[in-house]
């Protein structure tokens, strides 16, 4: 152990396997993530990229019949350690979903603050500050600052997705997972979210599943290509898209299958 050299990776995934019952959905994935980068996971439907993502915050195991093996080191700490509380892990690794899902019956403000209020933080000054900061980070503040009391579900689709990003950012996780965050949005809202992801890099490390290869090329620094539960190729995005090492990667990115 050389304690002098700082660990260059925020997340180190080693031999990660995941199952749904008998179905081996994710097969022995190794993947290291550099802090303050965006990593894109691409691949055809059913290739295990979403399941892999959901293993990174221990959400996969919430599905009945689901199972995981392998390890995921977050800042040198295995999140699958038997003593680890999944609840604590998920506070460290936030998640944004494919479909914008603001909580019903909660206001815009309530949605952003919920991670704190339900954790017992009641102090108004802290909440106000966190809500404003998170909404600013999510590039939503200017649009909603006059309707913080309105229901979260009253916003437009793109705004709702940014509200969900603000909600995830409010508990200040070092890592943010995004599961096809723009697949339900129109091109303008998509562009806003992509712009936002580039901004977010300053604060958090982003790992993003996307169906859209142009999106991966536009926003990510690193890209992993998944096929049939395996990680075929993991490289810097520019390299992966210009000089893919594996013929399957090449065929996929040139649109010959998938």
């Amino acid at each position: 152990m050389s304690g002098i050299v700082a660990n260059p990776y925020i997340l180190e995934v080693e031999k990660l396997n995941a199952w749904f019952g008998q179905n081996h959905a994710v097969k022995a994935i190794d993947l290291n993530v550099v802090p303050h980068t965006v990593t894109a996971l691409i691949g055809p439907s059913g290739c295990g990229k979403s399941t892999f993502l959901r293993c990174l915050n221990r959400l996969h195991e919430e599905v009945p019949g689901a199972r995981v093996s392998g390890q995921v080191m977050l800042q040198g700490d295995n999140i699958y350690d038997p003593g680890k509380d999944p609840v604590a892990v998920r506070r460290q690794i936030g998640m944004v979903f494919q479909k914008a899902n603001p909580f019903p019956a909660l206001s815009v403000y309530g949605n952003v603050a919920v991670g704190l209020t339900l954790a017992g933080i009641r102090k108004r000054s802290i909440l106000d500050e966190v809500v404003e900061r998170s909404l600013r980070h999510a590039a939503l503040w200017d649009e909603v600052k006059d309707k913080l009391k309105a229901p979260g579900t009253s916003l437009s689709g793109g705004q709702q997705q940014r509200l969900c990003i603000a909600r995830a950012l409010a508990v200040s996780p070092p890592v943010l997972l995004m599961d096809e965050p723009t697949s339900a949005l129109d091109p303008i809202s998509t562009a806003k979210i992509e712009e936002l992801v580039l901004e977010l890099k300053k604060e958090v490390t982003v790992i993003m599943v996307t169906h859209n290869m142009q999106q991966a090329a536009r926003v990510s620094d690193w890209t992993a290509f998944f096929l049939l539960g395996e990680s075929v190729e993991f490289a810097e995005t520019r390299k992966l898209f210009t000089t893919p090492q594996d013929s399957r990667t090449e065929q996929y990115i040139t649109g010959r299958f998938g």
């Binding site: 998920r90 979903f97 479909k99």
Partner: protein, 288 residues
């Protein structure tokens, strides 16, 4: 030519049959609401003129005297429903939460089925059950026994409504809560349950409307009381039982008062149902 003519005449016959069938079905549907219309007409015709200030404020007059009112029965019914809600709402909602959020596999299936069976148990059986469980051991008819028997009727209604409404909450809402690092019980209570509160309230109101008119389970449990009593360990008057007692009595004046009470009960149950529907419509409008 012959084929074409035959088919044309078939068309004509088919159209006639169609119209006759439609008219018959329509008339049958109308006939189905006739009883409702008669009930209303009768209760309003007989009950409305019998309503007066004394009905709401006076106790029953001694046997043989005319006058008096249903004040004790109104207060008794209110107390019974309140206590039944105190028992039945938390019980039913908890059962519904378990079935929707945690119930998996055989055990949950058996529980769900049992709750459905409980919903269809005749209310008089619930009354006899409560009689055996509470009245016999305590050697006394009591308001609390009445409330328990009403609660037993409320539980399945509330449990199944709660379960159905919670199942409408998409699973990604729960995952979003878990993804924020919230423990499952907080996600269940503070996000999933809270988000369905309006709907669950309507289920509760329907359950209350259902038990407000229940007579059979109260006959062996709360019994009745001709005097003012709000003691929970004593027999207590209630609208439906007092209607029953007055209706089978030989006195004209009691019949009049029974009609008045029936009118009040119908208005109460109807307004609960209507309010529920209005709330439901508003909730639907908001989510769409």
């Amino acid at each position: 030519m012959i084929v074409r003519d035959t088919l044309a005449s078939h068309d004509f016959r088919r159209k006639i049959t169609h119209h006759v069938a439609m008219v018959t079905l329509f008339l049958m549907a109308c006939a189905a609401i006739l009883p409702l219309g008669f009930v209303f007409f009768y209760v309003v015709e007989q009950g409305a003129p019998a309503i007066n200030w004394d009905f709401f404020t006076k106790l029953p007059a001694p046997v043989g005297e005319t006058g008096g009112g249903f004040a004790n029965a109104l207060a008794g019914s209110a107390l019974l429903i309140f206590m039944a809600s105190l028992i039945g709402i938390p019980w039913g909602v908890s059962a519904g939460v378990y079935l929707s959020e945690y119930g998996r596999g055989r055990v949950a299936k058996i529980l769900r089925f049992s709750i459905d069976i409980l919903a269809s148990v005749p209310s008089i059986i619930v009354g006899i059950f409560t009689y055996a469980m509470l009245v016999m051991p305590l050697k006394r008819f009591s308001a609390i026994a009445g409330a328990v028997s009403l609660a037993v009727i409320m539980i399945p209604v509330i449990a199944r409504t709660t379960e159905e409404l919670l199942k409408l909450v998409p699973s990604h809402i729960r995952e979003a809560g878990l993804g924020l690092g919230l423990p499952r019980w907080k996600v269940t209570l503070r996000i999933v349950l809270r988000g369905s509160m309006n709907g669950i309230m309507t289920g509760v109101m329907l359950a209350i409307a259902r038990v407000a008119g229940e007579t059979a389970p109260l006959l062996f449990t709360a019994l009745s009381n001709r005097f003012w009593s709000l003691k929970i360990d004593q027999p207590i008057a209630s609208l439906p039982v007092q209607i029953y007692n007055y209706a089978i009595s030989p006195y004209e004046d009691w019949h009049r008062q029974a009609w008045a009470a029936a009118f009040v009960l119908v208005v109460l149950v109807l307004s609960l149902n209507l309010t529920t529907r209005l709330i439901l419509r508003r909730v639907d409008g908001k989510t769409r």
